[in-house]
Amino acid sequence: MGELVPFRRIEGAVEELSDEALLSATGQHEQAALGALFDRFQADVYRFVARVAVSTPNDIDDLVQQTFLEICRAAPRFNGRSTVKTWIFGVAVNVARTHARGERRRQAAIGRSADVPTAEPAPLDVAADRAQTLARVARAIDALPYDLRVAYVLCVIEELTAKEAATALDTREGTVWRRVHEARELIRGAMTGGSHET
């Protein structure tokens, strides 16, 4: 008898654990690790989901909850080829995409999309009140097609590199570049008079 294989639980403050360690422990069904992972990343997930899902606070709460439950389920499949944060964004992207599809179907079913008033575009005025400008930017982002919006939010607001965003979106880096470029053009168009809202 010689080698010691440690028992699964050892003492350790949460701040000492790396993101990867927390995710690994979450994959081992460690609720405490899941709680710590939630505490560490909930703000990122909330911010991202709220920006891409364009939904009510209750829906956002649900999406965040779904994201972390999915993280819990998928944690054993984390292969370390990206950072944990990027991987979590990838999970959130999938959850939000499913929600967006359902939302589109629901709106199509009740015929509401045609009734939604589009924002009245106004010329971009550098002297305009900053709050108004920001509100128009927010509306323009909200009105982007889903794929463009997600790429733009990941790369610009969450400041992931195009490579990281490509990993999260499970697509090619060039595709991310193209989507961000198109998103910028659409936002610019909405800000300067055109509208891409449908």
Binding site: M1, G2, E3, L4, V5, P6, F7, R8, R9, I10, E11, G12, V14, E16, L17, S18, A21, L22, A25, G27, Q28, H29, E30, Q31, A32, A33, L34, G35, A36, F38, D39, Q42, A43, Y46, R47, A50, R51, P57, I60, D61, V64, Q65, F68, L69, C72, R73, L134, V137, A138, I141, Y152, V156, I157, E159, W177, V180, R184, I187, R188, M191
Partner: protein, 284 residues
């Protein structure tokens, strides 16, 4: 990525900040939902839903048939004949489904039970000296107590007192008493710590040198709690006990089941075990 003036505006947008109470509610819901999520892999969920669907169809068909037979305007839920038929139909359709469900229901999820005493220095699983011990312990382990201790129940849960006694005895170097206490904790009526007690009973017996009983206890654990987060560790330990007992085939099966465990130490131990079995088999 090339900067764009629009990007600065986008980044200046106020991020969504939910109320702390909302975040706490979501956190609680996530932790409450996690055991069910992790216990059911997507692969196992699909057939289960299919079975549930089949049960509902069978029960519905049986209820409709019974309603037609009795030609009664009473709703099926109020008709004892229909209820009985529904139960029979369910039992006859999937005889093994109830058993599978029972296992899931009975198996307590890891770390969702009553608070348990955790040692400052964790106990260990021992493996033969032929394997070089790794230098460091990976810090992927989490102490339940230090992160988010669950609320203490007003009264001790069934089996908890026995479990604490076993733990105290094990830490005091009395594995025989510990094994007896863990066994009592496992067998306590409605034990809330059955899973942990079952695991530690096997470990304590092994430390007490009672290899045969340890093998029985650990076999019971890996059979009863195959989805436990400790199943891999138990399998590795069991594999080495079987290896020492000369049961190479059985040992190899246990090592194989833990060879891809996500915990590096367990995986290494299991793979070392497989190599040891292969070496021993190759001996004249």
């Amino acid at each position: 990525m090339k900067p764009d003036p629009l990007d600065d505006l986008a980044r200046a947008l106020s991020p969504y900040r939910p109320a702390a109470s909302r975040v706490e509610q979501v956190r609680t819901a996530v932790l409450a939902g996690a055991p069910a999520v992790t216990r059911l892999s997507p692969r196992s969920r699909r057939p289960r839903y299919a079975i549930i669907g089949a049960l509902m169809l069978a029960a519905g068909a049986a209820a409709a048939a019974a309603a037609w037979m009795t030609r009664s305007p009473v709703t099926t839920a109020q008709d004892p004949t229909v209820e009985q038929t529904g139960v029979d139909a369910r039992a006859a359709t999937t005889p093994d489904n109830d058993a599978r469900t029972d296992v899931d229901v009975e198996a307590p999820g890891p770390l969702t039970k009553v608070p348990m005493p955790l040692p400052v220095a964790p106990p260990s699983i021992e493996t033969p000296t032929t394997i070089d011990p790794p230098r460091r312990t990976p810090k992927v382990r989490v102490s339940t107590g230090s992160l988010s201790p669950p609320p203490k129940p007003a009264l001790a849960a069934p089996g908890e007192a026995e479990f604490r006694a076993g733990w105290t005895a094990l830490k005091a170097g009395d594995p025989e008493s510990a094994a007896a206490s863990f066994e009592a904790a496992r067998q306590a009526q409605g034990s809330a710590v059955a899973e942990d007690a079952s695991f530690w009973e096997g470990i304590a017996l092994a430390r007490a040198g009672q290899s045969r009983r340890a093998i029985v206890a650990l076999r019971r654990f890996v059979t009863r709690y195959p989805s436990s987060s400790r199943a891999g560790e138990a399998a590795a330990k069991l594999g080495w006990l079987l290896y020492d007992a000369g049961e190479l085939d059985a040992a190899a099966r246990q090592f194989e089941s833990a060879a891809d465990n996500v915990v590096p130490k367990v995986k290494k131990s299991a793979r070392d075990g497989l190599e040891a079995v292969a070496r021993k088999r190759g001996m004249p």
